[in-house]
Symmetry: C2
Subunit: 196 residues, 2 copies
């Protein structure tokens, strides 16, 4: 039993059996995202390529629950990002609460490449394409997004999403993004962004 390789990351979600993601996993995820963005025709500067964020949501099971993202701009009025998902990777169920007198973040997901299944509030889909990973998932109205398709999520409403078997690149257009305010259904989840 050795010390985890990347002990600078706060260990969370120990019940999932592994405390941290390694520096190797982080670099692999960042490289994966850069390649997929390039394949989608997205040109990045050198500074942006090393600024790709990797979020493991404190669960330390990155391939299962996680997200790679690049923030283009995030003012106090609007935000634009590219999200990159590994094959079958899930962003856990959450919502964006009101803040600073606003109704909370409103966001539009537009699929660029691959395939992503979005799950939102409403009548659950009878035979959904995805099964959520271990955790707390309560909404099940499925919206399939293929390249060129998009969907807007009202503020304060629950949602989660999972990539298809090839992964996905998804543009996110929204009001100001304040990730640290996100409310996750699974209280073990934290919007941890592993950046180094």
């Amino acid at each position: 039993m050795g010390v985890p390789a990347a002990s600078t990351f706060e260990p969370r979600g120990a019940s999932y059996g592994r405390a941290v993601i390694s520096g190797r996993e982080l670099e692999d995820a960042r490289r994966f995202a850069a390649v997929r963005l390039a394949e989608a025709g997205v040109v990045l500067t050198d500074d942006e390529r090393v600024a790709i964020e990797v979020a493991d949501f404190g669960l330390s099971r990155l391939e299962e629950s996680g997200l790679q993202l690049l923030v283009y701009v995030n003012t106090d009025r609007y935000c634009a990002k590219e999200l990159v998902l590994q094959p079958g990777q899930t962003c856990p169920e959450h919502r964006h609460p009101p803040f600073d007198g606003t109704p909370g973040k409103e966001e539009t997901f537009r699929c660029r490449t691959g395939l992503v299944y979005l799950y939102v509030e409403g009548e659950p889909t009878a035979e959904p394409a995805c099964r959520p990973p271990q955790g707390a998932y309560t909404v099940g109205r499925e919206i399939e997004l293929r390249p060129g398709m998009q969907h807007t999520i009202p503020p304060g409403t629950l949602h989660w999403f999972q990539a298809g078997p090839e992964g996905a690149v998804v543009s996110e257009f929204s009001t100001a993004s304040r990730d640290e305010l996100d409310e996750f259904t699974d209280e073990r989840v934290a919007r941890t962004t592993v950046v180094g």
Copy 2:
């Protein structure tokens, strides 16, 4: 002297010597934009392809002053578009005034392909790359945007832009877009969008 082919378009800018753009010009511009977006890796739905807007700014000199655009989303809080410029095409100088108790539109331009020169308020660039077309142009601080580069324009400030010799595809992320409120320096200019 015949009747203009597309007489359903309101004639404007007659001092420029031609009253309207033809249906052929409109279709050519739309097709150009669709091809350039595809080359940039942007996948459009069939509905979007026919919804590409062509703005001639009422000047009826589309190749010189004009813009092709596709609006992904425009809620009352944020907006995202793709702008497509023909080689050397200029979007005339304008600003976005306050409305509905907001400071006015704030926008980020991100170059996807090609090259675009943005001109904003500030110390004029000594040897600018572009010459504006006939009209009223008063700001001259040049910002060169190549693929992967972006710039954010504060609300209420004057700006114009011109594509390089190959044209450009530019993503625009912003607060809510209300084109009809735009204030152009050249009073002959109108934010006319020719869509049919």
